[in-house]
Every structure is written in C-alpha cells, then in structure tokens.
C-alpha cells in the first residue's frame, strides 16, 4: 500500500525522541534569546534615572482608581494615585519594577524597562466565592450556589500526562469515584460514579454512569476532550441535578470549554513529552519454580511428572537454553519505557464584543509492547466565535472536530498481556537464535501477536460537533433575554480489521546439533503459519447523529437586596445510530486488502441501528436576599422515546435552601472566627432511563440460525420475544442532601461537609421471585427495585501565604457511600445468609476460605470429597458437617469501593509551583487470578508459589500446587475469597513542578509568559493492601497501568 501523507499531521516525526526535539528546540531558543537580548538592552540603559507617570484603572470597568499604592520594588520610594487615577514618581531607576497594590485588587508588578509612561489596569481580586460555577444551563457565583456542586477549573489539568482527562481529575472531586481500568492506549476511559451506586444492574450496561454534558450538549465524549480546551468542570451531586431530570439520577458532570477573551490576540502553546513505565507487573514463577510446582502437583495426584529433577536443575542453571529455557514472557513482551505526548496551540482574542478562540491539539499514546504496535493518536480542533450582530442580538458558533485513530494488533490486550502471565516459562518466546517460538494455543505467542504480523485493527473516529447559538437581549425589559441553540454532532466510525496467518518457528529436534554434554548448540527451525487459515477482512461503518435544540428565556431582577432569576426552557434531544459491517475471507493474498478481493464464499454482512429521543421543559427560579437567604427551585419535565405514551412523561422537581449564617450579626459577634458559613439543604426527585428503547412491546429480534433444505441454506429466524413491560417508565430517585460550606480564621481553613441520602425506586429489574421458570416467560425489567444509598463527603483545606513568596494550599476530600438493596423481588433462599436484600449491590456468593488443611488430621474439618492436605479450607457455615452450596456466603465490597479520597497540595514559591494529588480508595475485593488455566495449562503466579503448602511447609495460608480443572480447583464450583484480594490503596496520582521563567528573559520576544515543568501521573503507590497487581487497574491479567513522567512547557505570546 502506498503511503500517502493525507494530512500534514502525518508528517510529524514519529519517533518519540524526535517528537520531543521540536518543542525542546523552541524552548532552548527562547531561553537563549531571553538570556541574551535583555542583557543587551540592560547594558545600554543601565544607569538612567527617569520620571514615570501613568494612570491606574479598574480592568473591568475602565474607571480610574484613586488611592492605589505604587511602590518601587525593594525601595521605600513610591506614590499614591489621585482622584483621576494618576500618579508620578520621579528619579526612578529605569530597570526597577513598580508594584501596584490596592485592597480588593490583585497586586501587579511591572518592570519599568526604560519607559516613562506606565498605565496599569488592575483586576479585582476574585476570591473563590466570586468564582463562577456552572450549574446547568446557567452559572452562579460560588457564594450563591445552594446545591452540592463541586467544580474545578481546567487550569492545572493540562500539565498532567494522563491520556484521558478523567484520570487527571481522579481524587480532585469529592464524592466522585474514578477508577482507571487499563493503561492500554485508547482504552483508558475509567469507570466514574458519583456518590457510589444507587441502582441495580451491571456496570457494563451503563446503569451507574453519570450524565455528561459538554457545552450544554449530551452525548459528547469526555474521553477525547483536550484538557487545554477545558474552562471548567462541575459535578452536580444532589437535587441541583434535577434540572437534568430523567437522566440525572446518577449525577451530572458539566464541562464548559474555553471561549475567547477580549483583547489582542493571545497565542498559547503547550506541550509535554511523557515517558511511561508499568506501575506493577504481576509476578509469575520462573521455569524452575514452575516445573517444581507442577511436579509437586503431579506427584501428589499420582500422575506422570512432566519435568524431572534434572530438568528443573537445567531450567535453573540456564546452561541448556534450547531445551530448558527460562522464559520471562512479560519481560520479553514489554519494554521498560514507552512514550506519550501532547501538543496544543491556541489563539484567542477579540474586540468590540466579538471574541474568538481557536485551538489545535495533538495527542499520542504508545503501547508498552516492544513491538510498539498499539497506538492512539488524536487530532482535535476547536473554534468558538461569539459575535454581536446588533446591540440586542448576539450569535455564537462553536465547532469542534476530532480525528481519533486507534490501531491494535489482531490479538486483544487480553490475549497478549493476559496470556503473558499464563504462558509457561518452560516454553520459548524466542529461540536462542531469535525467531519467535511456538504458541501455547491459537497461535498465541505474545512476542509475535503483539506485532502487526497478524494484521491490524485500524479504528478511526471522526467527530464533528457544531453548535449555533443566538441570544436576544430584550431592550425594553431590563434583565430579560432569550437564547436559542442548535447542536448537530456527527460521528463517523470506520474500522478495518485485516488479519492474516502469522509465522511462528517450530523445532526440528531430530536435526539438532548437540555438543559433547548432549546440549543442543544449534537446530533448524520450521517456519509455520499459525492462527488463521487464510487472510480475512472485517470492515465496519458506524454513524451517530446527535441533535439538540434548546430554547430558553432568562429574567433577572434586583430590588432592595432581593435578587431573582427566572429561567425557563425547552429542549429536544435525538440520537440516531447506524452500523453496517461486512466480512470476507479466503483472500488470495494479504497484499490485496480491499473488500472485493475476498472470496464470495462465507462472506457476511450485518447491520444494526438504534434511535433515542427526549423532549424536555426546564425551569429554574432562584431567589436570594442580600446573599444571605438563598432559595432555588428547579424543575424539569421529560418525555422519553423509550417509554410508551402513557408513562412517557415525568416531572422532576428540586428544592434547595441556603442560609449564609455568617452574614448574620449574631454570628459576626460571636463566631467571627468562622468568617464564612453557609448551611445548605436540598430535596429533589430525579430519574434514570437506562436500557434499550421500546421495552414496552414484546420485542422480536432477527438472527440467522437454522439451516433447512438439502442445499443447507441458512434461514433467518425471529425471536424469541422479550416480554413487554407495557408500563415501563423511569427509575426515580429521591435525593436529600444537607451540608455546609465554611471558611475559618480569615480563609485560612475551609471545611465543607455534605450528607446525602438517596432512595432510588422503580428500579428496572426482573420480577424474579414471583414468576416461575415453567412459564417460560423471559421477564421484562419492571420498575420494582428499591435501593438506598447513604453517605457523606468532607472537604477540608488549608490556604496560607506563609511568606510573601511561599504560598501553600492543601485540601483533602473524603467520600463515603454505601448502598443497600431494599427490594428486588428476591426468590426465597434456603439459608438466611444468602439473602441479598439488605446487602450492597453486586455481592458475590462464594465460600469463605479460612485456611489451608495443614495435614491429614486437619481433614477432620468438613471438606469436599477428595480434599488433601494443602487444599483450601472452606468454612462449614451451616455447621452440618458437610460442605455444599449452603455454605457459601455473600461478600460485599466487590462492586466498587465505598470510600474514595484525595488530597491536593499546591505550593508556590517564587517562580516555582508544585502541585500534587494523592488519591486512594477503601476496601474493594478483586479476583487475583487472570484465568483458570493455571497448572498443566498455564503458569502459576508467584503468590501461588511463595510459601505454598508442601509436605514440609505445612503451616501456611497458601495452598499446595494445584491444577486448574481438578474437581477441587474447578473455579466454576468452588469460587472462594481465597482468590480475592483487597485492593484498597493510596497513591501519589499526579505531581507537577512548574517553573515560570522570569519575564525579563523573554521580554521583547512577544512572549508574555513562559513556564516549563516536570510532571508525573500514577507516580507512586504510597500504600496498598495488595502488591500482586496494580490495585486500581483491571487485575492480574489486564493491560498494566502506567506510570508517566513528563517534561513540558507552556508559552503564551
């Protein structure tokens, strides 16, 4: 295939160090220029004394400011502005710096640099109480927010080298659990839960996912968002989410992207280059250990030994690599370091009410495989333009485009990384002469299947997000405006997976050349095609169209300390998804990969489509009196396509009250050390409409199944029907929240607290107990389940400038949420301890492993037939002297951790700033094996080997050598907590150390600010309950989580 550069990006250097070079060069040049040029100008102007004059204004209003203090830095020389904002300082050193300060305004420093007129605009100091928080359709000042809303500004996220934005915000948002499952490029979308789980249903069905709204539009991907484009992020956790009604019960994440700021064009360039290495690699036994353990098993069970003592000796000694290899599969598969990089270039500005923001981004993420096959590349562009057409009509255009390219080898990460823990070390990854060795089965030799020799799976996502907005500010009625917006989001996905057989090398033992000791010194190998019988091609097109229309009116009125805001809107959302897929095989050659080159025989086409739509009426009324008494009502009425006409519409109100007690006189007089205290309470109802549409009718699907006729033709079949639930409707959640925000000792300490109680009713679940199987009814999900979810969040902070040059901000958050199944139509249980009602969702029923049978005598304890010393003891819970299914008990904490916490530290000292996040989770049980093929068919983990039971090591908690499908070890019948580990952990998630280069280095280059930084993601596990595998990742067989170190720069022109 001819390689054509179809876009300029493909010209970018590909090798990571070269990719690094370009930005490094820029920085070096900048530094060089910065150092040399000012030095030159300095020499010329060195001793000049001059008079400096100027006017100081308020940056926001442009009005002159009187009484501003201006001081020559490092001296007592200075002046104060007059009523017209003017000042004069005589006899100033031309190289000195002026410091402008005024209470309530941000102090500014300005180098004189030989000028005689220096005008200055000061910005009002924005405390976080003035910070604007997005609360859904509108914004509020932090001080006026009554709901439980967490927010985050996009600043500070850009420097963290995490491929997915979600992994950069983990631990920063109280009450939000973010768990990264995999480090595989392009597969790093984490599992996000807000305040734990309040519903039933498997994760994979998305029943616990929060609603994500980006720039007011549902259905946009958070995973691809360029952190540089993020202005702010808010999480609505309580009744405040009721503004999103029927889909808000799991909480809402609102993201707002940046828009331009008025002023001259501002160019910003950011980049980092990251270096990644796995956090923890699960340990497996080496060849001698594996052979030893397997032999123990075989001897104990009267089977032939596969490996003799001599074999074991040779595996250990390494003197016979041809016949006694000691393969480190994981080590041979992965490289120590791999790369990731991100670049972003943005320009913004505007004047006379018109603003623009344009950004270009590029992100790449490489696999940890030595073969460097798997790759993630993303190009994104974003344009936001706002322009006034008349003085009462303003329009905005917002266009974002994404090109995402994921490339994977034929075998999945599971079959590559996971199998590396399974492949036996007594087999060959590479022969001593370098050729890839034989497979374990299915052609699985990860060192080869991680390359493209078996073909590749090339997935491209093209996304175009468009929003048009118009706002009418009605001139006759002060405070009234109308806004209409229309979004059209188009996603095209194209996948081409062309696979072919690959070559592995098989031994010719009979032709081996042996030395005098009998060891093979060389051997011819037979290249053999494995894996697939012939080349095959699978192509798939998906198209998704999301359309959102929103019309709303807003009215604001202030009178006598009363502030009223009214908002009403109408919204319509539609989603339309189509897929078409084609398959052909028996290609004459893998060199011709077009669809038509495949054979006609056994070709296949498939298609699929879904639709979704929602209509909504939205309202909000807020009232406050002097910012002291706050009240808010939100309301939404939603109609969903998923439900039948009579149960289609639902009403979702929310009521919120706040009292800023610290404004009261009695407080100021008695509790003044708490300088800010706001009590908040809310109550609301929200919904969730999970699952497929049209469950209100008996649904028949199509499939191709039976073959009829002498020609053996495949006949399309329909059914079986899923029984309708004609009354299907929302899940409804009642949310109660009470909390306070407080600041102590003049903002030194912040302390916020929230307690919540969610009761989710009408949860869609099967009427399991009441309908016997003999009816043959495949039960619909009905709105019958009830789950309670309670918990709290604490957020505490310490903020202080210790010296004028050293500032410290430390904040920590801790969230706890525990759910309890109140009702799910559970069938009767034989024994009470297996009743799931009352437990959290997802509890696993399994045996309780209480130790290892030490010896024959220990086998007096009830056990299964065939148990031997060294086997796991299952607790006889029923105390009936036999071990059967009645002895299984429920283990909680297997769905998600109940606690999730984070600590953020920000320290600035002179031009340095340090940012760090510590993040962790509480008890969470996860399986510590990857598959059940250990033993004859797979390697053991090191934790199965170390301190295992043997006839001479009997006092231990590790079982004897076992084999996967022996009755006692058949995981299908004996799942027990022996196989589970607590994955509680605390980790240093992110660290960023930034140095802002002194301005005099680059003044004159047009650069207004430049900084360089080093940063890290998943930096260190500070504490973890298990070190067998990364507690946060997907377990022992998952693609490892990666630790990333990066260096980067941020330059603004």
């Amino acid at each position: 295939m001819k390689k054509t550069p179809n876009c300029f990006w493909s010209q970018w250097p590909d090798v990571s160090f070269r990719r690094l070079l370009l930005p490094v060069k820029i920085v070096v040049i900048l530094l060089f220029c910065g150092l040399v040029m000012p030095a030159h100008s300095l020499a010329a102007d060195n001793l000049q004394q001059a008079t400096v004059t100027g006017t100081v204004t308020d940056a926001a209003t442009g009005e002159a400011m009187a009484g501003v203090n201006i001081q020559v830095k490092g001296t007592t020389q200075g002046a104060i502005t007059d009523i017209a904002g003017k000042y004069t300082i005589a006899n100033v050193d031309g190289n000195a710096t002026l410091v402008f300060s005024f209470i309530g305004y941000v102090t500014k420093e300005e180098a004189i640099a030989g000028r005689s007129v220096i005008d200055m605009a000061l910005n009002q100091e924005i405390t976080d109480l003035d910070e604007v928080v997005v609360v859904g359709y509108t914004t509020q000042k932090r001080a006026n927010v009554v709901g439980s809303v967490t927010s985050l500004s996009g600043e500070g996220l850009t420097q963290i080298p995490a491929a997915n934005i979600n992994n950069a915000i983990s631990g920063r948002l109280p009450g939000t659990t973010i768990m990264q499952g995999s480090g595989e490029p392009g597969q790093q979308a984490p599992r996000i839960m807000i305040r734990g789980r309040s519903t039933l249903g498997a994760l994979t069905d998305g029943y616990t996912n929060p609603l994500i709204i980006i720039d007011g539009v549902q259905g946009r991907s958070m995973d691809e968002l360029d952190p540089s484009d993020i202005e702010s992020l808010s999480v609505l956790k309580d009744a405040s989410a009721a503004i999103y009604g029927a889909t808000a019960a799991n909480g809402v994440i609102l993201i707002t992207t940046k828009k331009g700021q008025e002023g001259r064009p501002r160019l910003n360039y950011q980049f980092y280059q990251g270096f990644m290495t796995p956090t923890i690699i699960p340990d497996v036994t080496n060849a001698a250990e594996y052979a030893t353990m397997l032999s123990e098993y075989q001897v104990a069970n009267g089977k032939n030994r596969t490996y003799s003592d001599e074999d074991i000796r040779l595996f250990a000694s390494g003197e016979d690599p041809w016949e006694h290899p000691d393969t480190d599969w994981y080590g041979d598969l992965i490289k120590k370091w791999t790369g990731t990089a991100k670049h972003n270039l943005s320009i913004d500005g505007g004047n006379r009410g018109m603003t623009y923001y344009v950004s270009l981004g590029y992100k790449t993420d490489d696999a940890i495989y030595k073969a460097s096959s798997t790759k993630y590349k993303q190009y994104n562009i974003r344009t936001k333009v706002e322009m006034p057409i008349t003085d009462w009509l303003k329009t905005g255009i917002d266009v974002a485009g994404f090109l995402v390219n994921r490339v994977y080898p034929y075998k999945s990460a599971d079959a590559i990384v996971g199998q590396s823990t399974r492949l036996v070390p007594t087999s060959w990854s590479f022969w001593p002469t370098g050729e890839p060795g034989p497979d374990i089965e299915y052609g699985d030799n990860p060192v080869e299947t991680s390359t493209f020799s078996a073909g590749k799976n090339d997935q491209k996502t093209y996304r175009l997000l468009n929003t048009l907005t118009s706002t009418i500010t009605v001139p006759f009625v002060q405070g009234l405006s109308f806004t209409g917006s229309f979004s059209f989001d188009l996603t095209n996905y194209y996948q081409k997976a062309f696979y072919q057989p690959w070559v592995l090398y098989y031994p010719q033992w009979e032709n081996a050349v042996r030395n005098s000791q009998g060891y093979i010194t060389s051997m011819p190998l037979t290249p053999t095609l494995r894996g697939l019988s012939s080349p095959q091609n699978n192509e798939r097109y998906d198209r998704t169209i999301n359309q959102t229309v929103n019309l709303n009116a807003m009215y604001q009125k202030q009178f006598g300390g009363h502030n009223i805001t009214l908002f009403a809107g109408y919204e319509q959302y539609t989603n339309d998804y189509n897929r078409l897929q084609g398959f052909r095989q028996y290609y004459i050659s893998s060199l011709i990969q077009t669809m038509d080159a495949g054979a006609d025989q056994d070709k296949n086409t498939e298609g699929f489509s879904t639709i979704y739509a929602r209509k909504s009426l939205i309202g909000r009324a807020t009232y406050d009196f002097r910012g002291k008494y706050l009240a808010e009502i939100v309301f939404r009425r939603d109609g969903s396509l998923k439900f039948p006409e009579h149960s289609r519409w639902g009403n979702f109100p929310g009521f919120l009250l706040g009292w800023r007690a610290s404004e009261e006189d009695f407080w100021k007089n008695n509790l003044g050390f708490i300088n800010y205290f706001k009590l908040r309470g809310s109550y609301g109802k929200m919904g969730m409409d999970p699952g497929a549409a049209f469950q209100y009718m008996n649904k028949f699907g199509l499939s191709s199944g039976m073959v009829f006729g002498t020609g053996s033709s495949i006949e399309t079949t329909v059914g079986p029907p899923s029984v309708a639930n004609p009354n299907i409707t929302w899940e409804t959640q009642t949310t109660r929240n009470i909390g306070f925000d407080s600041k102590w000792f003049n903002d030194l300490i912040t302390l916020n607290f929230d307690y919540f109680f969610n009761k989710r009713e009408d949860i869609l679940t099967e009427r399991d107990a009441s309908v016997p199987n003999f009816t043959g009814l495949s039960l619909p999900r009905e709105n019958i389940g009830v789950v309670n979810n309670k918990g709290f969040e604490i957020e505490a902070g310490f903020h202080k400038s210790l010296t004028p040059e050293l500032r410290l901000d430390i904040s920590g958050n801790y969230g706890f949420a525990r759910n309890k199944i109140v009702f799910y139509d559970e069938p009767a249980r034989v024994v009470p301890w297996q009743v799931r009602t009352g437990h959290p969702y997802g509890s696993i029923l399994m045996y309780n492993a209480i130790g290892i049978f030490e010896n024959e005598a220990a086998l007096e304890y009830p056990h299964w037939t065939g148990a031997q010393p060294g086997d796991v003891i299952f607790e006889d819970v029923s105390k009936d002297g036999i071990i059967n299914s009645d002895d299984m008990i429920l283990f909680d904490n297997t769905d998600s951790p109940e606690t999730f916490y984070g600590i953020s530290i920000e320290a600035t000292w002179k031009d340095f700033s340090l940012q760090a996040q510590i993040q962790g989770q509480g008890k969470f049980l996860r399986r510590n094996y990857y598959d059940n093929r250990r033993g004859e068919a797979g390697n053991y983990f090191q934790w199965n080997y170390d301190n295992r039971w043997t006839p001479t090591n009997t006092k231990t908690n590790i079982a004897r050598a076992y084999n996967r499908n022996d009755y006692y070890w058949s995981l299908e019948v004996n799942d027990s907590n022996y196989w589970y580990d607590n994955t509680a952990y605390c980790r240093l998630k992110n660290v960023v150390l930034t140095y802002t280069l002194p301005q005099n280095l680059y003044r004159g280059l047009g650069i207004s600010r430049a900084s360089v930084y080093v940063s890290g993601n998943n930096v260190a596990l500070l504490w973890t309950a298990t070190r067998k595998f990364d507690p946060e990742g997907g377990g022992a067989g998952a693609y490892p989580l990666l630790k990333t170190y990066a260096i980067g720069a941020n330059i603004t022109f």
Binding site: N301, G302, N304, T306, L393, I472, G484, T526, T528, R530, D602, N604, I611, A613, R614, L641, E645, F694, M697, N698, K699, F700, G701, S704, G705, V707, F708, G709, T710, G711, S712, I714, E715, T716, T717, V718, G719, P721, V771, P772, N773, F774, T775, G776, L777, S778, L779, P827, A828, R829, V830, N884, G935, E936, R964, N965, Y967, S970, E972, V973
Partner: protein, 635 residues
C-alpha cells in the same frame, strides 16, 4: 417598528428547528418488532418457528441438541469430558436441586435445562395460539397448516425431554402471561405427561402426513413417529414401572401399565418399520455377513457406518430427522475442535473410556477379552509375537464400528497440521509414547498429555472420539458442517427390538430379527437365543455400541437403572511403543516408576443412589414456586 419585525423574525427562526420536527417521541422501533408484525405474515411466523427449532432441547448456545462441546454421553460410562468433569454431577453423587452441574450451567452444557425447555414451550404455545388468526393470501394455508404441524412436533419434543428428565411436569398448551396466578400450578403425573406428549404427536402426524415431501430439517411425520417410539420406550422401561418409587405418580406409571406401554412402544416402532411414515432403511447391506471378514471388508463396513455421521447436504435413507450446520453465520458447531486430538490443535474432549472400548466385540461377533494371561491391567506383545498373532494388540480384529468410533494409539486420522507434522512421521494417532528397548523414553506421543502441543488438551482416558468428527474439516480453523442425526432408522429398529424382547414370548424372535438387521449392517453376525434375559443383554449391548456418543446411553442407563453397575472411576489407558516393535498396553496402572505401580485416576466417579435417576426440580424454581412437589430423594 422595523426593530420589532427583526425580533419577530429572530424568534421565529429560533423556533424553527423545533416546530419543523415531527414528534420525535412517536417512533417505530428500528432494531426490533412486535408480535403484531410476526403474526401478520405467515412467513414471519415461519421464521419465528425457525427460532423454536433453534432452541430445541433447551439450547441457548450455537450447538443444537446433542452436538456440543461437553457431550451428553460424557454423563455416562462411555466418554470422559476432560475440561469440566466436575459438572457431571450425576457421576459424582452430588446431584441436587442446588447442584445441577451440566444440567444447570450456562456454559458448555446449557441444554436439557428446565428454564430453557419451558422458554421454548412458551414460544411454541405462542405460535399455536396465534397461527390460526394470521391473515393468509391464496395458497398460504398450505404453509400455515404445515407450520402448525411442526409446532406440535416441537412441543411434543420439548415435553418428552422434560418427561425423560424429570418425570411428570407442569403442562400447558396455552402461553403464559404476566400477572397470572402461578401459585396453584402443579406437576401432572407422568402418565398425564405422556398422554399430553402423545396427543401432540398425534396432532403433528395428523397434519404432517399430508406433507410427505417436506423441506429437509423441518419436522416430518416420520420425525413425530420416531419421537413417539422413543418416548414410549422410555416410559415402558423399568425405571417408571416399579423400579423406583412405584407409588409416586410423578415418576411411576400405575402398577400393571408396563405391558400396555411396551405394546404401544412396539407398535409405534413397527408403524415406522412398516413404512407408514415414509420409506426409511438402514444404510448399507443388512445381509448376514459371511465370516471371517477381510480387513478391507471390515474397513468398508466401518466406513459405511461412519458415513451416517459425516453427511453433508441431502440426507440418506436412514436419517429420519437431523440438524444441519452452516460453515459461517448462524448456529455453528466445532466438533472437530472440541473432540479432536491435541496434536491437531484440537481440544481432546469426550474421549471414550477403556471399559467402553473393551465392550466392542471382535469382528467375528465374539466378545473382546482383555486378559490374555497377564491380568486385567497389563497386556504386552513383542514385535515377533504381534507378527505371528496380530490379535495380541487390543486394537486389531475388532468389529467394524470400533474403527469408526474410536481413535486409539496407532489409528489413522487426518494429515497433521504443518507445525505438528514433524512430531508424527507415522501419520497416526499417538495416545501412547515411544520408548527405547531399555525403557527410556524417546518421546511422548504428540496426542498425549505429555505431548508437545497443547498438552493440557490431551486425552485423559487414552482415546479420542472419532465418530461425529468430519475428516474433511480442519478443526483448529473451521466449523463442522456435518449433520447431527437426532432420529435415525437404527433407533427405530432397536426400540422395536427392545420392546419385543421385554414383551417376550412370540415377540422375542421378531425383536431379535430387528436387532440383527442393525448388527448385520455393521458387519456382525446374528444373535441367536430364545432366552429373554440373554436377549435383553444383547439389545442393551447393541444400543450402547450402535448409538455410541449419540447420547442415548444417558437415557438408557437411567430407564434400565443400570448406572449403579457402570459408574466407576476412569483411568487412563496407556500404551508404550518400543522402537524395536514391542508394545505394552496397560490400564489403571502406572509403569513409569519401574516396578512400582500406582493408580492414576483420570476421573473419580461415584454413584449416589437411585434418586439420581431423575433430575430434581432446580432449587431456583422450587423457591419461586414452593407448591411444586420435588422429585423423590431430593430435599
């Protein structure tokens, strides 16, 4: 004024996207449809019925009926499932309402399951309840009536399966609906259940007799008649007639019913033999063979028998009803991959056990005798002895079906895949290993658990199952396309033979005649006896061999109540092939440690009592419907 106009225009434009839309909430589903659509067009009903075929036997996987990764015959003494032996709880003595293993797991078993069988009955009842109201165009009534006949057959098949598993079950000829009162529903007696099944069969035959030329794969009157023969023989056997809990009407017929049931079973088979339901015949010659057979003749008989299970396309005359599989798309089976030797990158499941292998006769119809003076564990032969007497090898001189059913050490099979070719210069199955005359190992056979290819898939019993595999299919890459034969004429003959023999007296000889047709076709001489007991042993033996691995053994052992005699530990049959041509075959013993012999069990088995002859109602169901009466012996 002009300004006002602007406002109006602006607001109208804002409204435009909304008002111009149809109501987005009132849409038809794009990925599915409802029963109104299904029952508006008889062709869609046909497709719905196609799904019911798909789910026969309570299937949820791609394989249908007996063709699956873990064969039903592995729930008997015939074969051993090496990957999930713990799931065959009836052989472990652990079968209980909580532990149904193979009969409950969603995985590789997943058929013969209570919920799935009832789910399909619900589908069929749905069709039967609505099919008469489907609007038809001219000529479609022919199809509509036929589909109804097929539906009766399918319902009869599902209820017959439930009967044979559980005894008397809950009967309904109407679809169930949500909201009905299920709490008073209970099981019918086994007699009522049989009556229900027979009535459906009669309805099916009554319609399908008008459709002699029916699409291959669709239920025919012949299939219905064959089902009738099968279910009647089951009901006429010892288990349901005084053998176990005679007074429990869920699992036993009233005292004195047996004679009538046997007559019914006999007549049902006889009707098929008389050609009332189509022309069926055994494939191959049914003449009494002239003994001794030459090697080529043995091979020819073997190939003829084997061909029944490797049919593609049009069925032969023996096939009454079968399931077909495509190569890609839809249902699929990978028999070769499931059962083939690991040395072909296959999974080595369902290997025949040594006792089953020993039960094959010699080519002259005499029983095989293992012990030639060396005891029950060991058999040896030097190269010279073998040359003089080939029958010293246990695998020489056996009856023709042996060579169609079993892959033993030395058996010919497919060409090896390229990467395995180097390990097999002889092009034969290697379930044994190769030794130097001094006893040192040269190399473990490539198809053993010590072999160089995917050893964990190596046989544990020392054999692989050849029958059902297609020699033209490369199992590691491709699906199988040979049919699964559910009803074949040989079953009718042996059903008839057994009913006759059990009736005894004047029926005995016609029974033996039918039995001998099956034997002669297989190249074996007639059985001659006038002793009912001996005849019974003959027919039971013949069923075991003729239907090897087809699953009949599971039903047969239960209705004969034979399990307690045959459930025993399974050991590995080991073969040592010496480079000088000597052989050693040994069973249940390990020679690898020199003189020291210890037993290496491949699978520990244990019979747990007569109640295991019936499957319990699953615990889950008992919890949902506590009014149901559980089968005897289960709590």
């Amino acid at each position: 004024m002009k300004k006002l106009l602007y406002y109006i225009i602006a607001i109208v434009m804002l409204m435009l996207p909304v008002t111009s839309c149809d109501d987005v909430l009132d849409k038809q589903s794009v990925d599915s449809f409802n029963e109104q659509v299904v029952f508006s067009d008889i062709n869609v009903v046909k497709a719905y019925l196609g799904k019911c075929y798909d789910r026969m036997g309570g299937n949820t996987n791609a394989g249908i009926l007996g063709m699956r990764e873990d064969l039903l015959s592995s729930a008997t003494d015939q074969t051993l499932c090496i990957h999930r032996p713990a799931n065959y709880v009836n052989l472990k003595g652990t079968q209980s309402p909580d532990q149904l293993g193979f009969f409950a797991s969603n995985g590789m078993g997943g058929y013969l399951r209570w919920p799935n069988l009832y789910a399909n009955i619900q589908n069929i009842n749905n069709i039967l309840a609505n099919i008469d109201d489907v609007p038809l165009t001219a000529g479609q009534d022919v199809l509509a009536r036929r589909l109804k006949g097929e539906a009766y057959f399918l319902r009869a098949f599902e209820y017959a399966t439930l009967l044979m598993l559980h005894g008397g079950v809950i009967l309904s000829s109407e679809p169930w609906e949500l909201g009905q009162d299920y709490s008073t529903v209970n099981r019918s007696t086994i007699a009522q259940t049989l009556e229900f099944v027979l009535a459906d069969i009669a309805s099916a035959i009554n319609i399908l007799k008008d459709y002699p030329k029916i699409e291959q794969g669709r239920a025919s009157m012949g299939a219905a008649a064959a089902l009738k023969s099968r279910v009647l023989l089951f009901c006429a056997s010892e288990l349901t007639n005084g053998g176990f809990q005679p007074s429990n009407t869920l699992v036993s017929f009233p005292a004195g019913s047996r004679e009538t049931l046997l007559q019914q079973a006999r007549d049902a088979a006889k009707d098929v033999m008389d050609g009332d339901y189509g022309d069926y015949s055994l494939v191959g010659s049914t003449d009494d063979p002239a003994l001794p057979l030459t090697e080529a003749q043995v091979q020819a008989y073997s190939d003829n028998y084997y061909s029944i299970f490797t049919q593609h396309g049009k069925w032969n005359s023996e096939t009454i009803w079968a399931i077909q599989y495509p190569l890609t798309g839809g249902n699929y089976i990978t028999t070769n991959r499931w059962n083939g030797p690991n040395g072909y990158h296959n999974w080595g499941n369902n290997g025949p056990t040594e006792p089953a292998v020993r039960s094959f006769e010699m080519a002259d119809g005499t029983p095989f005798v293992w012990d030639n003076g060396q005891g029950e564990y060991l058999r040896t032969a030097t190269a010279a002895q073998l040359a003089a007497d080939p029958l010293l090898s246990p695998y020489n001189g056996r009856e023709p079906r042996f060579y169609a059913i079993v892959l033993y050490h030395g058996a010919p099979w497919q060409a090896r895949p390229s990467d395995a070719a180097a390990f097999d210069p002889y092009n034969k199955v290697q379930t044994g290993s190769f030794y130097n005359p001094d006893g040192s190992l040269i190399i473990a056979g490539v198809d053993t658990r010590q072999g160089l290819i995917e050893a964990w898939n190596g046989t544990k019993s020392g054999y692989y199952l050849k029958k059902l595999m297609d020699p033209a299919t490369q199992g590691q890459y491709f699906n199988n396309t040979n049919h699964w034969v559910e009803f074949r004429y040989a079953e009718i003959l042996l059903n008839y033979a057994e009913a006759c023999i059990e009736l005894g007296g004047a029926d005995l000889q016609p029974g033996l005649d039918a039995l001998n047709m099956v034997r002669n076709r297989a190249g074996l001489p007639d059985r001659v006896t006038d002793d009912q007991g001996e005849a019974r042993a003959f027919v039971r033996h013949e069923r075991a061999i003729e239907f090897f691995a087809e699953g009949h053994r599971f039903w047969d052992l239960r209705r004969w109540m034979e399990s307690e005699n045959v459930v025993e530990d399974v050991y590995e049959m080991k073969v040592r092939e010496y480079s000088n041509g000597d052989f050693e075959w040994y069973y249940a013993a390990d020679l690898s440690e020199g003189a020291h012999r210890e037993f290496a069990r491949a699978d520990a088995r244990q019979w747990g009592g007569d109640h295991l002859y019936w499957l319990p109602i699953p615990r889950d169901e008992m919890n949902k419907a506590p009014q149901l009466v559980q089968n005897p012996g289960y709590n």
